[in-house]
C-alpha cells in the first residue's frame, strides 16, 4: 500500500526507513563505509599526516613502506595523505554533482509533469536527448574545451546526469497530481508552487533521492575517468588525479591500487545505499 502522507509525516517515513535498514545488511554495509569516508574527510585537517603537496626527490615512486604506507608518487609526495585528503575532494565533487543533478532534474521533471502540454513535450525531448548522448563522451568534449577546474567539473557532471532524476520526478508528479489529498489542498486554495513543493514532492521524492545516491558514485567514477584522460584538475589532490599518475607508469601499482580501491569502496557504498533506499521506499505490490 502506498504511504499516503502529508509533509508532516516525512519524519515518520524516515524513521520507518531507518528501522528497516537494520535488517537490510547491504544498506547497512554501504552506510558504514560511507560514514567512515565522511569521518575521514571531516577529520583529515586535524590529523597529522604528511603534507600532500610536499615534494621530495628522494622518494620518487617509492613503494609502500613505513614512511609511506601507500608509497609515493612521481614527485615524491606521500600517497597515503593524498588519498586521505582526496576524500574531501572526491566526496565534495560527487555530492555537488549529484545535488546539481537533483535540483535541475527535480525542478524540470516536476514542472514538466505538473503543467503538461507543450512545456512537458519540450522537457521530455531534452530528457531524451540527455539520455541518448553518452554522458562521459559529452563531458570529455566539455572538459577538453572548457577547462577543468574541479568545481566547474562537478557542475558540468551534474548537468549531464539530471535526465534520469527528471524522468523519475516527472513520473511521480504525474501520479501524485491526481491524488485525493492534492486535489483537496488545491480546493482549499493552495497555489501551484505550494502544491508542488509542499504536497506532491515530499511524497514522491524518495525514488529520486535513491537515484541521486547512485549518482554520487557515478560522479566520482566520471571524475576518475576524466582524470585518466588528463582532463582533471591538477591543482587538487583527487583520487582520479593520483590514479592518472599511476596509469603513466606500469611499475607503480600502488598509485593505481590504493586510490582505485578508495574509489571502488566509495562508489560501492553509494550503490549499496542507493539500492537499499530504493528497495525500502518502493511501494510493495501486496
Amino acid at each position: 500500500m502506498q504511504h499516503i502522507v502529508s509533509s508532516s509525516n516525512t519524519s515518520t517515513l524516515i524513521r520507518v526507513g531507518m528501522r528497516d535498514l537494520r535488517r537490510d545488511k547491504w544498506g547497512l554495509l554501504g552506510l558504514c563505509i560511507l560514514l567512515s569516508f565522511v569521518v575521514i574527510a571531516l577529520l583529515v585537517p586535524y590529523v597529522s599526516v604528511d603534507d600532500p603537496w610536499e615534494q621530495s626527490t628522494t622518494d620518487i615512486i617509492a613503494p609502500p613502506s613505513w614512511n609511506h604506507p601507500f608509497g609515493a608518487d612521481i614527485y615524491g609526495r606521500d600517497v597515503f595523505s593524498r588519498v586521505l585528503w582526496g576524500t574531501r575532494v572526491s566526496l565534495g565533487l560527487g555530492v555537488l554533482a549529484a545535488l546539481t543533478s537533483f535540483l535541475v532534474g527535480t525542478v524540470l521533471g516536476s514542472f514538466g509533469g505538473y503543467y503538461g502540454g507543450f512545456l512537458d513535450d519540450v522537457i521530455t525531448r531534452f530528457i531524451d536527448l540527455f539520455i541518448i548522448i553518452p554522458r562521459v563522451i559529452l563531458l570529455i568534449l566539455v572538459a577538453a574545451l572548457m577547462g577543468t577546474e574541479v568545481w566547474y567539473m562537478a557542475l558540468f557532471i551534474g548537468l549531464t546526469m539530471w535526465a534520469s532524476t527528471a524522468r523519475i520526478a516527472r513520473a511521480q508528479v504525474i501520479t501524485f497530481k491526481e491524488r485525493g489529498f492534492v486535489k483537496a489542498a488545491a480546493l482549499l486554495g493552495a497555489g501551484d508552487i505550494r502544491l508542488l513543493f509542499l504536497h506532491i514532492l515530499p511524497n514522491g521524492i524518495f525514488p529520486a533521492i535513491s537515484n541521486t545516491m547512485l549518482q554520487v558514485g557515478d560522479a566520482i567514477l566520471i571524475e576518475a575517468g576524466l582524470s585518466f584522460f588528463g582532463l582533471g584538475d591538477t591543482n587538487v589532490a583527487s583520487w582520479g588525479q593520483i590514479i592518472n599518475m599511476g596509469m603513466l607508469s606500469i611499475s607503480s601499482w600502488w598509485l593505481v591500487v590504493f586510490p582505485g580501491a578508495a574509489v571502488a569502496l566509495t562508489v560501492l557504498a553509494f550503490n549499496l545505499l542507493g539500492d537499499s533506499l530504493e528497495r525500502r521506499l518502493k511501494p510493495r505490490l501486496r
Binding site: W26, P134, M146, G217, A224, I250, V256
Partner: protein, 320 residues
C-alpha cells in the same frame, strides 16, 4: 507494425537534430579552432589565417551550423581536417574494430550475467546469492580503466600469456593466423568491457526482475495448483523476467560506448572510441560530429529494437 516503426523513427528525428545542435554548439562555443594545429609548427600568422579562411573557421557559428546542416542533407558530412579524406570514411574504417569489441562483450555479459542472476534468484536467500550480488556490486564500482590496466599487468606483463595491447601482433600473417592473432588480442579488452560494464547490470537486473515476479499472484497460483518448481520457473517467471533485461540491453548501448572509449584507449584498440578521443583533442570537428550522430542513431535504433522485442514478449503492454 511497420507503421509503428516508422512513427517511432520519425519521432526520433528531432532528437538526432538536437544532438547535432548541442554538439555543434559546444564545439564551436569555445575560443580557438584547429587552424593552429592544422597549420603546423612553423606556420606564420598569415598562413594560419589562410587556413582559417580555407576551412571557414572565421565565419560566425550560426552560419557554419547552417552550412553543416545543409551539407548533411545532401549527404556530405564534411572532410576530416587532419586525415584529408571524408569524415565518414575515417569513422567507418574504424567501426569494425569497435563492433568486434562491443558485440562479443554484450553477448558475453548476457551469457555470464543472465545465468548468474537467475541462479542468485533461485538460491535466494543464501550465502551464494549474497556472494554473487556482492561481486556484481564490486565489479560495477571499479573504474573500468583501472580494471583494464590490472588485467594487462597480470595477464600480459606478469604471466605473458596474452598480448598487452593493440589488435594485431603478427603483422605479416594472413588468414587463420591473423584471425587467431586478433582473437588473442581481443580477450583482455573484451573481458574488461564485459565484466565491468555488462555483467553487473545484467546480474542485478535479472535477479531483481525474477525475485519481483516470483512474488506475483500468478506464480503463487501456479505453485498452489501443484506445478513443479522448475516448470513454474521456466514457463512463467523466466519469460516475464526477460522484459526488463531486454530494456537494459537498450540502455546499455550508451554506457557500452562510454566503456569502449576507455577500454580502447587503455588497450590501444583501433576502434571509434580511441578515434573519438583523438579527434576531440585535435578538434577534428567533422569526425566528432559524425561519431556523435552515429552514436545517437545507434542508441535510438537499439532502443527501438528492444521496445519491439518488449512488445513481442509481453502482449499485455499497450504501447502508445
Amino acid at each position: 507494425m511497420p507503421t509503428y516503426v516508422t512513427r517511432r523513427l520519425i519521432q526520433s528525428v528531432p532528437s538526432v537534430i538536437l544532438v547535432i545542435l548541442l554538439t555543434f554548439v559546444i564545439i564551436n562555443l569555445v575560443p580557438g579552432d584547429p587552424s593552429a594545429t592544422l597549420a603546423g609548427e612553423f606556420a606564420t600568422p598569415e598562413y594560419v589565417a589562410e587556413i582559417r579562411k580555407l576551412y571557414g573557421f572565421d565565419r560566425p557559428v550560426h552560419e557554419r551550423l547552417l552550412i553543416y546542416i545543409g551539407n548533411m542533407l545532401t549527404g556530405n558530412l564534411g572532410r576530416s581536417f587532419f586525415y584529408k579524406v571524408p569524415a565518414t570514411q575515417v569513422v567507418i574504417e574504424r567501426i569494425p574494430a569497435t563492433i568486434l569489441l562491443v558485440f562479443p562483450s554484450i553477448v558475453l555479459s548476457m551469457v555470464v550475467g543472465l545465468p548468474l542472476g537467475i541462479f542468485a534468484a533461485r538460491k535466494y536467500p543464501s550465502r551464494t546469492t549474497a556472494a554473487i550480488l556482492f561481486q556484481a556490486y564490486v565489479l560495477f564500482s571499479i573504474p573500468i580503466f583501472v580494471f583494464g590496466l590490472l588485467l594487462m599487468m597480470v595477464f600480459a606483463v606478469y604471466f605473458r600469456i596474452l598480448p598487452s595491447s593493440g589488435m594485431i601482433g603478427q603483422f605479416y600473417a594472413t588468414g587463420l593466423e591473423r584471425a587467431v592473432d586478433v582473437l588473442r588480442h581481443l580477450v583482455l579488452p573484451m573481458l574488461t568491457l564485459a565484466l565491468i560494464s555488462g555483467v553487473p547490470p545484467f546480474v542485478r537486473l535479472t535477479y531483481s526482475a525474477i525475485t519481483e515476479v516470483s512474488k506475483e499472484d500468478f506464480i503463487t497460483t501456479a505453485r498452489a495448483i501443484g506445478l513443479d518448481e522448475d516448470a513454474v520457473f521456466r514457463r512463467h517467471a523466466f519469460r516475464n523476467a526477460m522484459l526488463p533485461v531486454v530494456t537494459i540491453a537498450g540502455i546499455w548501448m550508451s554506457s557500452a560506448i562510454t566503456g569502449a572509449v576507455f577500454t580502447e584507449t587503455v588497450f590501444s584498440w583501433p576502434g571509434i572510441g580511441s578515434l573519438l578521443f583523438d579527434s576531440i583533442l585535435l578538434r577534428d570537428y567533422t569526425v566528432i560530429m559524425f561519431i556523435f550522430v552515429l552514436t545517437a542513431i545507434s542508441v535510438i535504433v537499439v532502443s527501438l529494437i528492444t521496445d519491439i522485442i518488449y512488445e513481442r514478449l509481453d502482449p499485455r503492454i499497450r504501447l502508445r
